[in-house]
């Protein structure tokens, strides 16, 4: 389990450096009014692709953070009782990661026109959030039971 945790930690640390961000209207590249329709379409496709990536990156972060909560759940259930509060902090931190990444997914979906992708990503992220809350609440209940609070 510790090996899995190290891998997860490193993957998220690497994900954190991929600073993908929604391309916003007026972001650097201005399209001159005389630009041909074809060029405009090309530009729209490029922005759509960039925004798709910008939504997929936090989606992956949310998935990894959910794995971290699952790891915390195992730690709380089977780990050293003297460290059970650490498992609780782990779950809370990772839950903040899931919900924070979910906010990023949603704001980045706003710039997309691909309705099917938007619907599917929104459904996925809602599922990840629900799982995160349920698992995290379970960890906190376990922590409370162990420390007798």
């Amino acid at each position: 389990m510790a090996e899995r945790g190290q891998t997860l930690k490193d993957r998220m640390a690497r994900a954190g450096r991929r600073g993908h961000r929604r391309v916003q209207p007026g972001d650097g590249r201005h399209a001159p009014a005389e630009r041909h329709a074809e060029q405009q379409a090309e530009r729209s496709r490029a922005i759509e692709a960039a925004n798709t990536v910008a939504a997929e990156v936090p989606l992956q972060t949310a998935r990894l953070c959910l794995e971290a909560i699952a790891l915390a759940a195992t730690a709380a259930e089977l780990g050293n009782r003297n460290s059970v509060s650490d498992a609780g902090v782990a779950a809370l931190a990772a839950r903040a990661g899931v919900e924070g990444a979910a906010l990023n997914v949603r704001i980045n979906l706003g710039g997309l026109s691909d309705a099917a992708f938007k619907a599917s990503a929104a459904e996925t992220v809602a599922g990840l959030e629900a799982d995160a809350r349920r698992l995290c609440d379970g960890v906190l209940a376990r922590v409370a039971a162990v420390i007798g609070a």
Binding site: A2, K9, G16, R21, C65, L66, S83, D86, A90, G100
Partner: protein
């Protein structure tokens, strides 16, 4: 089709000046083995005149023994053609066992040139597990334990350091190489990154690290015996 595995040039050093002893270790471990001989020491050949072989212990390993004037040591010089077939630590330990049978000691070993990180990390995990320790430690520590266990810094410490910091490690992520204080400062500035995305990833990463700490504080502790590598699978929700 299929890409050839990364070839590792790997040498195992012995406490002897005798090239023939090093070669004896090489013949024992290499896939090609040695020539089969009859009772009079004559090499046995098949109908085509090709010499018959007694295969060695390790697949995907080529090896020869020689003497290195510069180190004043005999050395088993190895080309490891596929470290997935014969892991680096297995090559090291097999050579060490054979050396011991010959009354020799392995004094260290060296990786020559570019080396992928994976076999070094796997070696680190192997030696930790062998000690009954958790192998869930940061990559840096896995490299350190591998270096110490196989004596990778015996003859060329400076080369070893350069290799492990530049070619066997992924370059440090700029955000993740900041101190905590610097990162917090950077988040507070008006530049949009690092922002919510980086902070969310960091939170998850901290959560994983803390849960890992609990696991490491559990494995091998009194009252928690048997909770080694086989903790239960992830809760089903996490497997999606």
């Amino acid at each position: 089709m299929g890409a050839r595995e990364f070839l590792l040039a790997y040498n195992v050093n012995l406490n002897t000046l005798d090239r023939r002893l090093a070669n004896e270790v090489a013949l024992n471990i290499r896939e090609g083995g040695r020539a089969r001989r009859d009772a009079n020491g004559e090499i046995l050949r098949d109908a085509d005149g090709t010499s018959l072989k007694v295969p060695g212990r390790l697949k995907a390993v080529r090896a020869i023994g020689w003497y290195i004037e510069q180190y004043r040591q005999a050395q088993v010089s190895i080309n490891l053609l596929d470290y997935r077939t014969s892991p680096l630590h297995v090559v090291f330990e097999t050579a060490a066992r054979r050396a011991e049978k010959l009354g020799l000691l392995v004094t260290g070993s060296e990786l020559v040139g570019l080396t992928p990180l994976a076999p070094v990390l796997e070696a680190g995990r192997h030696f930790l597990r062998k000690q009954g320790k958790s192998a869930g430690v940061p990559e840096r520590e896995l490299v350190e334990i591998a270096v110490r266990s196989m004596g990778l810094d015996q003859v060329a410490p400076s080369i070893r350091r350069r290799r492990s910091s530049s070619t066997t490690f992924a370059p440090a992520a700029p955000l993740m190489s900041m101190t905590a204080a610097r990162f917090v400062d950077e988040v507070s500035t008006e530049s949009p990154a690092p922002g919510g995305g980086s902070v969310a990833a960091l939170m998850g990463s901290l959560g994983a690290a803390l849960a890992t700490m609990v696991a490491n504080l559990t494995v091998g502790k009194k009252g928690y015996e048997g909770r080694g590598g086989n903790w239960p699978r992830w809760p089903s929700a996490a497997r999606r």
